[in-house]
């Protein structure tokens, strides 16, 4: 299992809470960008992948034509015959029927829509470029383009958000044909507009926790399974590409700020579009190759994010060997005593009460 991640660092505008790498002033560089990205892909020509994920930024901003060029370019360079899943992230303001139909025709069978909320007030205060109507139209367009795997990104803790508005958003979405939800809590990060100027009606930490728990409850009543800390899906609709991250799998990331994990080594491209365009291969940073015991600790931490699947010591043993996982077994065992983890046979699972405070558990797991 190996994933291919393509980063599209362009957005029509920067959302007030966003600290991902994206640019909104240099949209004229998109054509050049596709060429350079394919040049980076050339350096790994021939690799095979099981999942493809176009993320951003806003991949839908490319438009149908560039998207086609990109996907065909990737197919020429990589072995994508056994793709089990491919996803494109889209934002409502740039995901017209044309783009969605093209994506579907190109074999991208899963779409993840950056809806965040169906409340126009919340969207506006967060600097989103779309409104409720556009969000619902995008779902309709996706359905009519043939999509059956549709995910929605939902933000918990938007300015002015209440349990009522969140509940309304989720009920409408589940009724509209969504089968996967990524629910991220808003955090005010340095360098964002919210950091410089925090809105007065931003829900506090405790309020956010309540909103999150409420969202999970609603989605569960609609048949969703809480399979990862921030992700819920109808059974069988989990995101395979992301599951691979959390199972310690391999992936290649192309584009500025994209992270990779190949043969046990993690690295990422610098978040710098200009330098990337000059030479996409010379700007890697943070290369890291952990020894087995640390690597196993890291994977244990990742696997515990999978609330249902949990951390299976049998699998860890097969992968790393008994010596390397000694600590990985001992540390979670201690946490079972503190009731933040439960153990069932060979499997450790994060207890529901600790989902939002998992960091306190993870720091004791990584060793």
């Amino acid at each position: 299992m190996r994933g291919l991640y393509i980063h599209i660092p362009f957005c029509v505008s920067k959302c007030f809470y966003c600290d991902f790498y994206s640019v909104s002033e240099k949209l004229g560089l998109m054509d050049e960008y596709i060429d350079v990205l394919l040049a980076e892909a050339d350096s790994c020509r021939g690799m095979d992948f099981s999942t493809l994920y176009l993320g951003g930024g806003t991949p839908s901003i490319l438009g149908a034509e560039r998207l086609e060029k990109l996907v065909i370019g990737l197919r020429r360079r990589f072995d994508l015959h056994d793709l089990q899943e491919s996803t494109i992230e889209v934002n409502p303001e740039s995901a017209g029927i044309d783009l969605l139909a093209t994506a579907y025709r190109l074999g991208i069978g899963r779409v993840s829509i950056g809806i965040q909320s169906l409340n126009d007030g919340e969207l506006k205060k967060s600097g989103r470029a779309h409104n409720r109507r556009q969000a619902l139209e995008t779902i309709d367009s996706a359905l009519s383009s043939g999509y059956r795997n549709i995910s929605a990104d939902i933000m918990i803790g938007l300015p002015g958000q209440t349990a009522q508005s969140l509940g309304e958003t989720l009920s409408v979405l589940t009724g509209a044909g969504i089968n996967h939800v990524s629910a991220y809590c808003l955090s005010v990060e340095e360098g964002t507009a919210f950091y410089r100027c925090p809105p007065p009606d931003l829900p506090g930490e405790d309020e956010q926790a309540s909103l999150f728990e409420y969202a999970v409850d609603i989605l569960k009543t609609h048949g969703f399974v809480h399979y990862e800390i921030s992700n819920l899906a109808r059974p069988g609709s989990e995101c395979l590409h992301n599951l691979n991250y959390w199972r310690g799998g391999e992936y290649l990331g192309l584009g500025p700020a994209a992270a990779s994990h190949i043969s046990g080594t993690r690295f990422r491209n610098s978040p710098n579009l200009e330098r990337y365009l000059v030479d996409p291969l010379s700007d890697r940073e943070g290369e890291e190759h952990l020894e087995d015991a640390s690597k196993a600790g890291e994977e244990a931490m990742l696997r515990l994010r999978l609330v249902q699947e949990g951390l299976d010591m049998q699998k860890m043993n097969n992968k790393y060997g008994r010596n390397a996982i000694e600590g990985v077994e001992a540390r979670p065992n201690k946490l079972v005593g503190r009731r933040s983890l439960a153990r069932e046979g060979d499997v450790f699972r994060l207890q529901p009460a600790y989902v939002l405070i998992s960091n306190s558990v993870f720091i004791d797991v990584i060793g």
């Binding site: 955090s187 921030s230 992936y251 993690r266 720091i363 990584i366």
Partner: protein
């Protein structure tokens, strides 16, 4: 001996003492220009804080305008009130002092305090106005202040810029002309003053000596007047920029002696050294053992590091014999030490050095003064640790140490400074008006108020213009109570403190509130309470943490996520476990800075 001049430079903090010393070393050819800033300040910390902690000396050969060769012994002095005893001993080793005043600041509290020490020691004073290169220089005002506040002659005043060297040549000449050469006979029995010392790991404690009479050579047997202990001299020498061995030290000279003194506790600044065969020679007057004014508990973050901390303290004491420490045991913090310091600045510096130079991960508890507790059965206890106080019912009264402080303040700020002093339980002992621009407020103030935040507050209410100096002024009865702090329903003895009964509740609330902001949220609710005896005077709860700040893990950048977790884990290690509660280091010391 006629060609020797022993002198110090004395000044209020930041008035340019170290810069002037540098310039003198440069202009006499001792060091090349720009070789190293501020030669006399050895320790990093001193440079960072811009103050000299320990006195040092340097012997400067100087050819004067009269064509003769002179030896100038510059004895550096610490510039802070915590070290006034050390200053007085350094001055005792001199015949003259250069009194430095910043032209933009004028005479300040420590200018006066230091000048008075010099006058008491009978020194010839050369008044010098420094920083004349600055645009805000007020030469006339400063001159007038030196005259009215210290009685110095205006015509004696020199003007220099230690920064660009202007006037320094004239100052060197004035040192030769005005400061008397030392008196005393080399043929008389030996008599030296110890004015400083340092520890050398190979040669033991090396005292700095001023020889008043007689001579001292290798092989001599010497006796310390205060203890009667006898040592054999192995080597003597002068202070060049390092130590320069010489054949002898004789009357009038300044230098060092090596005598394989292993224990820093043997050598006390102010002690007199005499020849072992002339023990009858009288001591230099004014000797006293340095006295700790402020105490705090120090505990290793990790309980098992207790032995390591003890070893570090032993080593530290070799370097700074003015600290005292003894074992202490806290129910909340485990095994640690009670440490005594000359004052707050001394405490801050010592703790910082323990952390930095001796690499100790420690927490320090709230500083305390020594209370005199008179029990109903007549017993008198001297207690420096609130947790050792007897139950309230057994106490007849509590007396606390008082300082006499002199605050120099521009007339415009007299009101706020008096309000502050009154609020801090000060009793006005007098107001002086040396000129129409400034007042000197003399207050008797509990030392406990001084060691919390009095100085910071004084600076803030006077917009930085007030300066102060203090000396101990006995004990006085106060209406004081012991306040206990309970974290998660358990009393934390290390957080107990003594406070005036009036306002104890207000202060308790402020403290609890601050604590609630310092202790991170846990997974369970933590009640915080302040109590006098069994009466709860303040309560606040830290509610359970319901959500991590960083719960997301997106885009496959696992390395970043792991590093954040590792950082969090490191932070956790810096916390002290008190019961089931993780209390950060800052919690203990930050509590002393409570706004009323």
């Amino acid at each position: 001996m006629n060609n020797i001049r022993n002198f110090s430079i004395i000044a209020h903090i930041d008035h340019g003492k170290s810069t002037l010393a540098d310039r003198i070393l440069e202009m006499t050819g001792m060091v090349r220009k720009t070789s190293m800033d501020q030669m006399l300040d050895n320790m990093d910390l001193e440079r960072e804080r811009g103050i000299t902690i320990k006195a040092k000396a340097v012997r400067i050969p100087y050819r004067a305008v009269d064509g003769k060769e002179y030896i100038l012994n510059l004895i550096d002095t610490p510039g802070h009130v915590d070290f006034s005893y050390e200053v007085s001993r350094s001055l005792k080793a001199c015949e003259g002092a250069v009194l430095l005043v910043d032209a933009t600041q004028g005479v300040e509290a420590q200018t006066i305090a230091n000048a008075n020490l010099a006058i008491d020691a009978g020194l010839k004073i050369i008044p010098v106005i420094n920083k004349i290169d600055l645009p805000g220089a007020m030469l006339d005002d400063c001159a007038l202040q030196l005259y009215t506040m210290l009685g110095l002659s205006i015509e004696d005043i020199l003007h220099v810029s230690a920064k660009d060297g202007r006037g320094v040549a004239d100052l060197l000449e004035a040192i030769v002309e005005r400061i008397p050469s030392p008196s005393g006979e080399a043929s008389d029995p030996l008599k030296c003053l110890i004015f400083d010392s340092f520890f050398d790991p190979y040669r033991g404690v090396i005292p700095h000596l001023r020889v008043f009479s007689g001579r001292i050579v290798a092989g001599d047997k010497i006796m310390l007047k205060s203890s009667g202990r006898i040592f054999e001299i192995e080597e003597v020498g002068y202070f060049s920029l390092g130590l320069a061995q010489s054949e002898q030290l004789q009357a009038g000279e300044v230098g060092y002696a090596v005598a394989l003194i292993r224990n820093a506790g043997e050598i006390h600044v102010g002690d007199t050294v005499v020849a072992a065969d002339h023990p009858e020679v009288a001591a230099v007057p004014g000797f006293r053992l340095s006295q700790s004014m402020v105490y705090c508990g120090i505990y290793p973050i990790i309980t098992s590091d207790y032995a390591k901390l003890g070893a570090a303290l032993d080593k530290f004491k070799l370097n700074d014999s003015s600290v005292v420490f003894e074992k202490e045991n806290s129910a909340a913090l485990g095994y640690g030490y009670r440490m005594g310091f000359l004052g707050m600045l001394h405490m801050e510096i010592a703790l910082e050095r323990l952390k930095r130079e001796y690499e100790q991960d420690i927490i320090a508890t709230m500083p305390s003064v020594i209370y005199r507790v008179i029990c109903k059965d007549g017993e008198v206890l001297m207690l420096d640790n609130p947790s050792k106080f007897p139950p309230e019912g057994q106490i007849d009264r509590i007396e606390e140490p008082v300082i006499r402080t002199r605050i120099i303040v521009p007339s415009d700020y007299v009101g706020p400074c008096m309000e502050l002093s009154d609020a801090k339980r000060g009793v006005l002992a007098g107001i002086e008006h040396p000129d129409d621009k400034r007042a000197i407020l003399v207050y008797d103030l509990p030392l406990a108020e001084m060691i919390t935040d009095f100085y910071d507050r004084l600076k803030s209410v006077s917009r930085g213009y007030a300066s102060m100096d203090y000396e101990m002024n006995g004990y006085r009865t106060g209406d004081l109570v012991k306040v206990d702090i309970l974290v998660n329903n358990g009393p934390v003895d290390a957080l107990s403190y003594i406070a005036p009964r009036e306002g104890a509740a207000t202060r308790g609330r402020a403290l609890i509130h601050k604590l609630s902001k310092t202790i991170p949220k846990h997974l369970f609710k933590i009640p915080l309470q302040a109590a006098i005896g069994s009466q709860i005077i303040a309560r606040e709860d830290i509610f359970p943490r319901r959500k991590d700040v960083l719960a997301k893990c997106y885009g496959g950048d696992i390395t970043r996520k792991r590093k954040l977790l590792e950082k969090q884990k490191e932070g956790k290690k810096k916390m002290k476990m008190v019961g089931f509660v993780e209390v950060p280091q800052e919690a203990f010391l930050s509590l002393m800075k409570i706004e009323d």
